[in-house]
């Protein structure tokens, strides 16, 4: 226990608990979660562009006001004081949205997309956020997972749940081709290697008829315990969208990936990855095996992208090379920049914003790349740590 150092007479006071705060009640956190859920539901329900614009402005103003009066600190304290509360509330929010939109295909599709993007960007977070390996081909690895699902689902009898894992493994294995150039280069050069791969991947998929060529390929839907995910859910007289099980499975993947990435961060592995990012030479002088950790991070990140890509493809039922372009990789990267490099909660928030806003606010759809790039520039200028900056590492969950 940290307190045991007190035996040493020369130490005044106890070692503080990392990130400790005066014990705050859970109320602030719960209220915030309910408010955010209501806001998200209102946003997803709105159809008219004027209403959506009003909601966007209103949301920004409300967030600004909350920061002004210090409400965000109360919420942060409340969540920090109750270790699992934040996790539970986040899961609860998704479940609440599932109930509210049980027969709305489109809204559920968006929720599932957010959850799957979260998994992929969490992988990118391990690569870029922790280890400092820049990867401009995240969408390609997402796509490799998708194509693995298409090939295995169409031509073999591999159970779909195993196909998800295969998608991850294939992405990780294909990624290992890139390992040699990525390990031999650093900084901008490593970025160029992954950029080249992203462009190559799309062309490769377009010219290979075995993978459906530019027209793309059908993907068999998810099946779990004999239950076909492509038909609507009927429980008694209750009918739900066929997207409901996808949302549920995507939620399970997202929770799994989140727990994994957070455990990586809160361990000696995360410490080693950080040391590689901050200073390779100093790290090497303290025995840190730079290559080992770069390989670990790159492989783990690509695995997460591949798994989520496989389920995404099953949900779309049809994929083509146009789904996994270099521009999509840039979107994954901009999500990470927007949320806060290295910040797992930031990834969740930023993914929701980046996926939903252009879908609902159709007016900006055509300009979304201009908007993303200006948003990234503004973030770098005014809030380089992102919407929810990464906190210093606390290895132990607080009470």
């Amino acid at each position: 226990m940290p307190g045991s150092i007190q035996h040493n007479a020369s130490v005044p006071g106890a070692v503080p608990n990392p990130g400790s705060a005066a014990k705050a009640g859970p109320l602030a956190g719960i209220v915030a979660a309910v408010a955010v859920t209501a806001y998200a539901a209102a946003f997803l329900l709105s159809e008219s562009q004027g209403l959506i614009l009003a909601l966007l402005v209103g949301g920004a103003v409300a967030a600004g006001l909350a920061v002004r009066v210090g409400a965000h600190r109360a919420v942060a304290r409340s969540l920090a004081a109750h270790g699992r509360l934040g996790d539970g509330l986040a899961v609860g929010m998704v479940l609440a949205l599932m109930v509210i939109f049980h027969d709305d295909h489109y809204a559920l599709f968006l929720v599932a997309t957010i959850l799957l993007y979260v998994v992929a960007v969490l992988g990118l977070n391990v690569q870029l956020g922790f280890t400092g390996l820049i990867n401009f081909s995240c969408a390609s690895f997402f796509g490799i997972g998708g194509y693995t699902a298409a090939m295995l689902g169409g031509h073999t009898g591999v159970p779909p749940l195993v196909i998800l894992a295969c998608g991850g493994v294939t992405a990780a294995v294909v990624g290992s081709i890139l390992l040699l150039p990525v390990l031999r280069t650093s900084g901008h050069y490593s970025a160029l290697v992954t950029m080249a791969f992203a462009l190559l991947f799309k062309v490769f998929m377009e010219v290979n008829d075995a993978f459906g060529g530019p027209q793309g390929v059908d993907v068999a839907p998810m099946r779990l315990f004999g239950w076909d995910f492509s038909s609507d859910v009927e429980i008694g007289s209750y009918t739900g969208s066929f997207y409901l099980p996808y949302v549920l499975l995507a939620l399970a993947l997202a929770v799994g990936a989140f727990v994994l990435v957070r455990r990586i961060e809160r361990s000696w592995i995360g410490l080693s990855l950080d040391a590689v990012r901050v200073d390779e030479v100093a790290g090497a002088c303290f025995g840190i095996d730079i290559r080992r950790w770069k390989i670990t991070a790159f492989t783990a990140g690509n695995f997460l992208a591949g798994v989520s890509g496989a389920l995404y493809a099953m949900m779309l039922a049809y994929i083509s090379p146009a789904n996994f372009t270099f521009a999509d990789s840039l979107i994954f990267l901009s999500i990470l920049l927007l949320g806060g490099i290295g910040s797992s909660w930031g990834v969740v928030l930023a993914t929701a914003v980046v996926v939903v806003v252009p879908e609902k606010f159709q007016v900006i759809q055509e300009y979304r790349f201009i908007i993303y790039s200006s948003l990234v520039l503004l973030m770098i200028l005014f809030r380089p740590m992102g919407l929810l900056p990464r906190k210093v590492r606390a290895y132990r969950r607080q009470a």
Binding site: W268, V278, V281, F286, V392
Partner: protein, 264 residues
Amino acid sequence: MNQERILDCTGLSMHFGGLAALSDLDLFVNRGEVLGLVGPNGSGKTTFFNVVSGIYRPTTGRVVFQGEDITGLSPQRIYHSGIVRTFQRSRLCLELTVFDNVMIGNHKRLDLGFWNNLVRRGRFLAQYEEGVERAGKLLAALNPALVARMFDPVGDLPMIDRRRIEICRALVGRPSLLFLDEPSAGMTHDETRQLMDEILNMGSYSEGLSIVLIEHEMNVIRRVTDRCVVLNFGRKLFEGSYDEVAADPVVQEAYLGKEVEEVE
């Protein structure tokens, strides 16, 4: 003189293209001594550290540490054999906490397996508590106030505390040989004096610790070193006690320049 040589370098040269940063250097360190490494800027002091700690592979020569040939091994292998160093421009991870930085130095004792880190969290947390205790003891010995700031980012701390953390990071793995590259850089005289006293007290933390110290502050060299080696243009210029070094005309010339003999 039956002192044991912990480090023995023979014929060490390091060439960068046409530039000889070290040429044919013979240098040894006895167990338990503090060796001062002095010389003008660019005389090869830091290069010597870089060669022995594995950042550079020497062009020629041999480095023997505790009876083992460690010439050209990777920095990782050399760290594991028991040599650690600090850097001239403190290379701490400023955004990481004090604890994280110290634990980087403790890397050889950390269990890096996936299973124990990610799945068996109880086992990991037990190791974590052990680390907190170890880091706390070490920090308390240097500056008790640092213990309370163990989970603050290093970037929030003043220079002298950063130096202390660097010392902790180096010592936490209980090395046999410590290279200190200008620990006084960026600090006042008083701070330097204080820090050096603290470092010497820390010798007891690591049994039989030998130290090689690069330092421009001659007061520090005089006070703490048992023996000095003077480098100039990558060669050994002189070797002896501080008093001998200070009195030597060749050394004075290297530092202050030749006296002008013919004045018009």
